[in-house]
Symmetry: D2
Subunit: 339 residues, 4 copies
């Protein structure tokens, strides 16, 4: 009953198989191999557009690289106060942008409030030499409270930002989980909504270490800079085929969505089951594979005693994360221990 | 007959097996897992000392992280003019040190000349506010011309540097190849010689992507800063066990030395075979798994026509790199095509 | 009737006289001159302690240099959301700290609320590798709303910060104005209250361009790093005597306090006069040389028509700044135009 | 007999007079004043072209700001191995470019050798993701050995650089001294020769602290970025009129050239006088206001005993610097002591 994090889970066997399969003979280094080219083509099919892609090995790397080409050193990224890029990356965006600023914005359930965005844009001008100008709006989908922006919410926020010529970054460490929840197409949740650059994560959903920074057509010409930053950051792996091969297998035949759906389903059952109990109250809606719930002390203790692993969150709630390999039996056992 | 680079080679099957074996159940994230702890212990045994280690996924990452804890932003790294950190990392050291300087030094066969080091140390004071002070001496072992410093040469250079309180970094992207050549112990080639920090590379010798930054006792207290930099650079992988597991298998039962010896032997045969021909002249001694040789145009063409892959080097020579999987048959075929 | 900013005012004649007087013969460069040494001694007398000092030419330079020695690149400065370092320095702190983060805190009248500080310290741990640790608390005295922290307020905030081993920076661009308001000694408002480093500004109060970064005994050993950063930033002026000489004259015979008192008195008269009118309401208490007041449109227009220069502030108020050279006649004329 | 440095000399009285004259009434801050606008116009007249200008307070600041707009963080500046930007600015270029690299080139008398430049351009490609691309060629005029490039030499070097799309920076800390030596127009020595950006220094030739970064038409559109960097570096002085006023007076009626001619004449007399002695040998031609000469020990001692101030240079020679206020009497006294 390990609900600590989707990063503690093992990798899906299909991705390991892909590594073995890829390990045949020699291949060009640094991403110039045929495997990587094939995965790029697959991404173009899935996202229904031309795009450029760079493969990385952590979500922090993807986010920081993405921001490094959109935010000049003397400019600013607007994000939620709870955003992973602000709270959990030890300043990677500041490092990769070489001194950029992150402006934390308020909003319930880790969703940037449209008013907060409007206020920030009003307070921070774009062309006053003394003030750091906003350059990027970063949105997490799924976000840090396990919630997904609706397409309408995305449209509102992105519309405001575009009116000020900001670029849009989407932190998609749990992109597949949000996609399954919204039930829209990958294109609708990204470039059709105005997203310029996407951190697409597979690691939390079945990969060993495979992430991608995807440049949609609006910013495709940043590819050479992105590659230079990737190299400069030690993130251009010599044998890149082993990173892209994971993503290739993950995207094949809808495996990524199947795994996300499985994790989301488990989270919903867990969420509904726990929320029905006395002494438990959901803190955020469960819209992906994370459940944030306030538990009475006795209940929390009972769960821990039964061997359930979960984190106490800074706001006093408990966080349960399901993954592609969470089983019905585990959910059942947890709810039984709780009941 | 692919002699382009050891990074174009596949991974050794034992390392893939280790990935499969490691993929059992849940494990703590970010390097706090049991696999990583086990590999640290193995490194301590091999290097005969307590040490700290951080696992990474590229040699550039290792070098840059290592330098980031030794070289302040307003200080300087002394290295050979041909050093990988100077020539081939798109300024990763400057990025990770946040503005540090690399001072390129002269010397035959990519070995820093003792006189060049002495001259640089004389020209660049340590305590003059206007001048960038030297903080680190970086040595590549095996170096960029495929040569290894002898223990006496290391002693001379490191002695000069230590007399000025510099720290010593060793770029060991091909450490195992140099070790086999010298026939000394890992300890003798590192901390016993005064090396403070080592970039230990497995990727060029059989891994998919596995490297380590090793802090010897003299700089062990830098670990928290090193981990902060690792996180901040997007290099602290969520599922780190898959990186350390590769190194664990590589180090097991002397596999790393066996593979290096095989590659070195292949290089020596190739070197001797080619050098014996008319129209060929070695540019550097062959002391590892790289052969730099000047070939007459006709000879080079003959080799290429026979399907041999190798790079034309900027100095006009041809570079042939062997790897753990270079076969006797390949060497034979090459020499036959040449002869 | 120019109330736009104290930086639009001319310099006090005594400081120009000092330049002429200093311009005799040769003197060592870069701050090693006798004039600078004399001013350091004068500062030690005034602050009643040993200290180290570096002279600069702008408040932004002072603040950024100060923070550069206290905040590592992967750490964080806590400041008010309205702080000059956050809002008005184009990211100079992020630049000089090479990627540090500024965390904006709430509080009325640009004073950090003790609760906001407590909350931030709770949310941001000091030793979690994923989170940017707080390293510095920065307080503006006089602050950006023209208010001064009382000694008790300083004690509360600094006490909280010191309990977490943060260092304390005071942005004293209008230090003399606050000092006159509090009526305490310079020592009481700084190192005796726990301040480690002070940006002391003379430019807004009579200098051409003269500021100082003062290291109190708790951080005196940072001087070499501070000087290295000063040099590296192009802020170590060759003929530094002309910067320190201004500050020497400013500090002589209490001129700095006399000028500050004059400006504060003018602001108080202006504040009281305007606040007494229909259609005017003070937004912040007037505790220095700045008046923030909400004016009805008709009143604001009347003042502008009469030739009064003042800024419309982002919060909808009007800001009037007095300076050392604001005359009774100007205040009278303004109030007459308003009345 | 102070020949230590032209930065130890006092300011010319006309520049102090200008400060007093400028100190009348209120003026817009941060360089938006009429004095600064007037000096910009004067520079346009003198350089016979439209240009943009930013005023600074040190040569290091000017150079670093100039390079910050021309050299991306992952690119490179080519300069002479003796260049001030490489040797004497504590890494300011690396700081302002946020991690750029400086590549030191060889050449006699601190003049970049055309062959060394050609070789570097050949070795360092512009579009290879692993290698740091050259972006800027920086030339010092007058250079660090007191020598001036001829217009033909400039043409050769700049031609090579332009063929690879590099931008050209000229470090003109002693621009006026070189200009007098060459006897050409300011335009001929700069933009007509292909220079894109000029650090124009007055401080070594009569100012208290006044320098300018001049953008010629080819890079005029960089002004907003330059100003952002200036602000961010703490170099946008609130009362900028006091910096520009110095330069205005310096440029008025040819004062700058008169002072430079005077200093150069003094240096030539000193050079010829010393070089004629037994036990003295010029190390570099004297083409400005600096004399580098090897002196026998006894001669050097005799001069020091007579009260002459000069520096022992790292190459074993003695450096004598004359300034605008060096008198015939001083030169005479020195030569008498030597003879």
């Amino acid at each position: 009953m390990n609900f600590l994090s989707d990063t503690t889970a093992p990798a899906h066997p299909a991705l390991l198989d892909a590594l073995v399969e890829t390990n045949e003979g020699f291949a060009p280094s640094y991403g110039a191999d045929a495997v990587s080219a094939g995965v790029k083509q697959r991404l173009q099919d899935i996202f229904e557009t031309e795009l450029e892609v760079v493969f990385t090995v952590s979500g922090t790397a993807s986010n920081a690289l993405a921001l490094s080409v959109l935010c000049p050193p003397d400019a600013m990224v607007l994000c939620h106060d709870e955003a992973h890029i602000h709270r959990d990356e030890r300043g990677a965006p500041e490092f990769f942008t070489k001194g950029g600023k992150l402006l934390p914005l308020a909003g319930d359930h880790a969703r940037i409030s449209p008013d907060a965005l409007a206020d920030a844009l009003k307070q921070w001008p774009s062309d006053f030499v003394h003030a750091t100008p906003p350059a990027v709006l970063s949105l997490s989908q799924l976000n840090e409270s396990g919630c997904a922006y609706t397409l309408d919410e995305l449209d509102n926020l992105i519309g405001q930002a575009k009116a000020r010529d900001l670029k849009i970054h989407m932190d998609g460490a749990r992109f597949s989980n949000a996609l399954v929840t919204l039930g829209c197409t990958p294109a609708e949740m990204t470039w059709k909504a105005g997203v310029d650059i996407l951190s697409l994560g597979a690691t939390k959903n079945g990969a060993l270490a495979s992430e991608a920074v995807i440049l949609f057509p609006s910013v495709k010409d940043h590819l050479p800079r992105l590659q230079a930053h990737q190299k400069r950051a030690g993130l251009m792996l010599p044998k890149m085929r082993f990173v892209s091969a994971q993503m290739g297998a993950w995207l094949e035949d809808g495996l990524w969505l199947e795994l996300a759906r499985s994790a989301n389903d488990a989270a919903r059952r867990l969420s509904e089951g726990l929320a029905a109990l006395d002494g438990a109250a959901l803190v955020h809606p469960t819209q992906g594979n994370e459940v944030f719930i306030r538990l009475e002390e006795a209940l929390a203790t009972r769960l821990r005693d039964a061997g359930a692993g979960f984190y106490s969150w800074p706001d006093g709630s408990a966080r349960f994360v399901t993954s592609w390999c969470t089983t019905d039996a585990e959910i059942g056992a947890l709810l039984e221990a709780a009941g």
